[in-house]
C-alpha cells in the first residue's frame, strides 16, 4: 500500500491475511472498543454438489475499491462504529483458503454484529468480484449469483 492510498481500510490483494494481525491493527488506538466482530469467508471443497479444485477471483480494479468503501461508509453512517476493515483476495485459491475478511469494532456488540453482517450482505451483491470454479477434470464454471443474496441485502432496507 502506498501512502496516498485513498481507501486505507479497503484492501484488494492476492496475498493471504492473518486474522489476529488485522484485528490487532484495527483495534490500535481505540481504548473505547468493547466488541470486535469479524467475518472470514473461505473456499469450500464442494459447491452445488461438485468437487472444487481451484477457485479464481476476478474483479474490476478501481470500481471494486470504490464500491467497498461506499459499503463501509454506509455501515459507519448507520451504526456507531469505532473502526472497520474489508480485505478481499483475488486470483487463484484452493479449498480452505481465506477469501474475504470483514472486521468491525464498536463499543457494544449489537452494532458490531449488525454492521459486519450488513457489510457482507452488501459486498455480496454490490462489489464487482466474480468467481470461477475449476473442477478436478480441469473443466471450469462461472459461479451463478444467488437469489438468496439479493434477498439478504434487501432485508436491510426496512
Amino acid at each position: 500500500m502506498t501512502k496516498e492510498n485513498p481507501y486505507p481500510y479497503i484492501r484488494v490483494q492476492k496475498e493471504d491475511f492473518d486474522l489476529s494481525t488485522e484485528v490487532k491493527q484495527l483495534r490500535a488506538g481505540h481504548k473505547d472498543i468493547g466488541a470486535v466482530v469479524s467475518f472470514v469467508g473461505t473456499v469450500r471443497d464442494i459447491n452445488e454438489g461438485d468437487d472444487i479444485s481451484v477457485l479464481e477471483l476476478e474483479h474490476y480494479p478501481g470500481m471494486t475499491e470504490k464500491a467497498l468503501e461506499k459499503i463501509r461508509q454506509k455501515a459507519h453512517n448507520r451504526w456507531p462504529l469505532q473502526s472497520s476493515l474489508i480485505i478481499h483476495r483475488i486470483g487463484e485459491m484452493k479449498p480452505c483458503d481465506q477469501i474475504v475478511l470483514v472486521a468491525v469494532t464498536s463499543k457494544h456488540r449489537e452494532a458490531a454484529f449488525n454492521a459486519a453482517h450488513y457489510i457482507m450482505d452488501y459486498l455480496k451483491t454490490n462489489a464487482p468480484f466474480w468467481k470461477k470454479e475449476t473442477f478436478p477434470d480441469g473443466a471450469t464454471r462461472w459461479v451463478d449469483a444467488r437469489v438468496s443474496d439479493k434477498e439478504a441485502e434487501s432485508r436491510w432496507n426496512v
Binding site: 469467508g41 477471483l57 476476478e58 474483479h59 474490476y60 478501481g62 470500481m63 470504490k66 464500491a67 478481499h88 477469501i99 474475504v100 457482507m120 459486498l123 455480496k124 451483491t125 454490490n126 462489489a127 464487482p128 468480484f129 466474480w130 468467481k131 470461477k132 462461472w142 459461479v143 451463478d144 449469483a145 444467488r146
Partner: protein, 83 residues
C-alpha cells in the same frame, strides 16, 4: 473515445476484456449496447437481450438510460459473486 470493459464470462464469450469505441454518436449506454449488438448473435445475447446485464459508468453503477460522454469508461458484466 469511450473505453469499454467486459468482465468474467462476458470477457470470455466476447473474446476481449477491453476496447475503445468512437464516442460521437452515443448519447446513452443503450446506444452503445445497440451498436455492439449488431456485431452478431453472441453480442446480442450477452448484452442487448440479457436481463441480468450489469452496467457501470466511470466506476458507478449505471443503467441503460445513463448518459455517456467522450472519455467515459463503460463496463458490462454479469451479476457479481464475490465474498
Amino acid at each position: 473515445m469511450l473505453d469499454i470493459l467486459y468482465f468474467a464470462n462476458f470477457r470470455e464469450v466476447l473474446g476481449q476484456g477491453q476496447e475503445q469505441l468512437p464516442s460521437d454518436n452515443f448519447k446513452t449506454v443503450d446506444c452503445v449496447l445497440n451498436a455492439l449488438g449488431e456485431r452478431g448473435e453472441q453480442w446480442k445475447m450477452a448484452l442487448v437481450e440479457n436481463q441480468n446485464l450489469q452496467i457501470a459508468v466511470n466506476h458507478n453503477v449505471a443503467t441503460r438510460t445513463t448518459a455517456v460522454k467522450p472519455g467515459d469508461e463503460i463496463a458490462f458484466f454479469p451479476p457479481v459473486t464475490g465474498g
